[in-house]
Symmetry: C2
């Protein structure tokens, strides 16, 4: 069993050079791998490609077991007596997802004495205490790119649902009503509106490309400008100052990772400075916004519509205010776990496990924490 270095990065770097067994790459022998996924239940048999579930476990069980590894999957992730807790003491690799997040706290990391590798099947590892993971010398990696198209498509759907006021019409249909005026008085075209994305990373850029033919006024804020060719292709304008951009927008889309810097960035004060009736789409992370401030602004009408698939915590409790606020078009966390996305992040997770067993590096962009060192955007 590999030794484990629990110091801070600097110490770990030292450990790492002094003792190669602390390296993330697998030493020989059987590994215990635990995966936490949502359950498919009665839906398990309905789709042969429904791999991102407890029942299918990313479709890697036979492959893992044929190599002598142990593979445990569960959806039971909360509280001291849950199934996940039972395996913390001897697991080597923990696979989690953002859709049914196992919150990997500092306390859990401390208990997991053999843990070396945290793999996120999907994108977004904020359910993991990255600082604690780094201090423990762990590696955290995602399947970067696996579901960026899925999320960008979903964002455009949500923009259209809000701007065109889809849901009141649907409610009329199922309620036996017909009242075009009740929908039309606040239904608009997307064409000509100002859309701003907070963050123009992989997902934000894909969204801008998909928005291009809609003839909007496209703005983006990020730490750095996107490459000039893409800027030219999409016509999106760089806004260096977030607070200068936000009040110009008819529609705001959040496309930034959740970090200590971005947590709660859309708070009561920022919301108060937005255009009255602004529409907000957030498929990034629920904790980027102040939950109650969003609910209050939807109720007052200052926010004209809010749609997204991310909440805090997840699953969202029954009394989460976003379930009941007006003009919401929310869903559970789903945009990145389409069947197409599942096949991609299952393949990407398998690829990283394979590299881990063989002592090979992962694709560079997959690392969130590499042997105790945080990727730049999380520092």
């Amino acid at each position: 069993m590999a030794m484990r270095c629990a110091g801070v990065s600097a110490i770990r770097a030292l450990c790492s050079s002094a003792n190669s067994t602390r390296h993330v790459h697998s030493t020989a022998g059987s590994k215990k791998i635990v995966g936490v996924f949502y359950k498919a239940n009665e839906y398990a048999e309905l789709n042969p490609n429904f791999v991102g579930t407890v029942e299918r476990g990313l479709g890697i069980r036979d492959w893992l077991e044929s190599q002598g590894h142990q593979y445990v999957v569960t959806d039971d992730k909360e509280g001291p007596d849950c199934e996940l807790e039972k395996h913390l003491s001897d697991l080597h690799v923990l696979i989690t997802t953002p859709f049914h997040p196992a919150y990997v706290t500092a306390e859990r990391i401390k208990k997991a004495k053999n843990l070396k590798l945290l793999l996120t099947a999907g994108i977004g590892s904020d359910h993991i205490d990255l600082k604690a993971a780094a201090e423990a010398g762990l590696t955290v990696a995602e399947v970067t790119g696996s579901n960026v198209v899925s999320v960008a498509e979903d964002e455009l759907m949500r923009i259209l649902i809000l701007v065109r006021n889809f849901l009141p019409g649907y409610h009329q249909v199922i309620n036996g009503d017909w009242n075009v005026a009740g929908i039309a008085h606040r239904a608009y075209d997307l064409e000509g509106k100002t859309v701003g994305t907070v963050g123009a990373g992989r997902i934000g850029r894909l969204l801008l490309q998909r928005l291009k033919p809609f003839n909007c006024n496209l703005l983006y804020h990020d730490r750095i400008k996107i490459d000039p060719e893409l800027e030219n292709q999409t016509g999106a304008k760089f806004e260096e100052d977030l607070d200068a951009m936000l009040p110009k927008c008819d529609i705001i889309v959040l496309n930034t990772p959740l970090t200590e810097k971005t947590r709660g960035m859309l708070d009561k004060e920022r919301i108060s400075k937005l255009k009255k009736g602004v529409l907000i789409v957030n498929n990034a992370r629920g904790a980027l916004v102040d939950t109650q401030a969003v609910a209050d602004a939807c109720t007052s009408g200052h926010i004209g519509g809010y749609s997204g698939d991310v909440w805090f915590p997840q699953p969202a409790p029954k009394d989460h205010p976003w379930r009941y606020m007006p003009n919401q078009a929310m869903t559970p966390h789903i945009s990145g776990t389409t069947i197409d996305a599942q096949l991609r992040y299952a393949a990407g997770t398998k690829d990283m496990l394979d590299r881990y067993f063989k002592g090979e590096e992962f694709p560079l962009q997959n690392y969130i924490v590499k042997e105790g060192v945080l990727a730049p955007q999380y520092r």
Copy 2:
């Protein structure tokens, strides 16, 4: 008062050359103009641009009355005692919309002895008996182009809603549930799917342009090929044979006008030949499809999802089967009556009235029936 020629086209053409007073263009004097719109009711005051309503009457009342014309607006359009019927005997111009269609039957045309001009505020004049209108020597014109962007945007929204399985997630949210598997087992990305449009006129072409960045396999069927530049730009492939195209499609979008040739085109037999789980979007006209065959195929699962805003008749009765079939994402007829679209079709209607009063021609593409002669696609 101008004389009126009630013969068939050939006779009317003769009449027209023999007697210029039968010409559509207005003779001097006060005209009686009747507009049939949906009522805004309590929504009237919520938006100053909500012009396509009884309360606002396209915003042209002051302009019409200042020129000595009479302007009557109503939403009361059904049955022998309705408000519309009371004005048939002496109106000169009737303005209708597809959203709250006044069905202009042969019988009504016969009663309307002074009627010269039927204007559709919007696009789609199939609520008018075009053959009877032509035989009566009338002119029927639309505000072509006024809401094509609105409808194309709405179609893309509906494609995404179906392919990504949005509504079951929304229902979970409002019902206090959280079950990602219940959504994800049939949620897909649009990327890579085969999308076919039946009809590539103005709306179909705008849809293809908006679909382009989604990296789909795009197909289109129409009487003629779209221009090579657009074909090249969108990558859409021409399918001469409708029945060869339809079974290739994961998603089918109807973008063809309702004519005697297209009525009921998607019938039980054609549906049976589609891919199992096919998604269908129809913002064109409800009567293009066999109502019960669609409902049955949604129930059996052969159609995986159906979304649109058009029904027959409209308003849809409370017992219309599409209200209750599974996997529907229907709304009342709304896509072409966004606030942006209303402003455009109100302006276009005013422009045609102005030309009518001045004896000027309309933009050529607006004519559906020009002084008794049907536009080619309606013959």
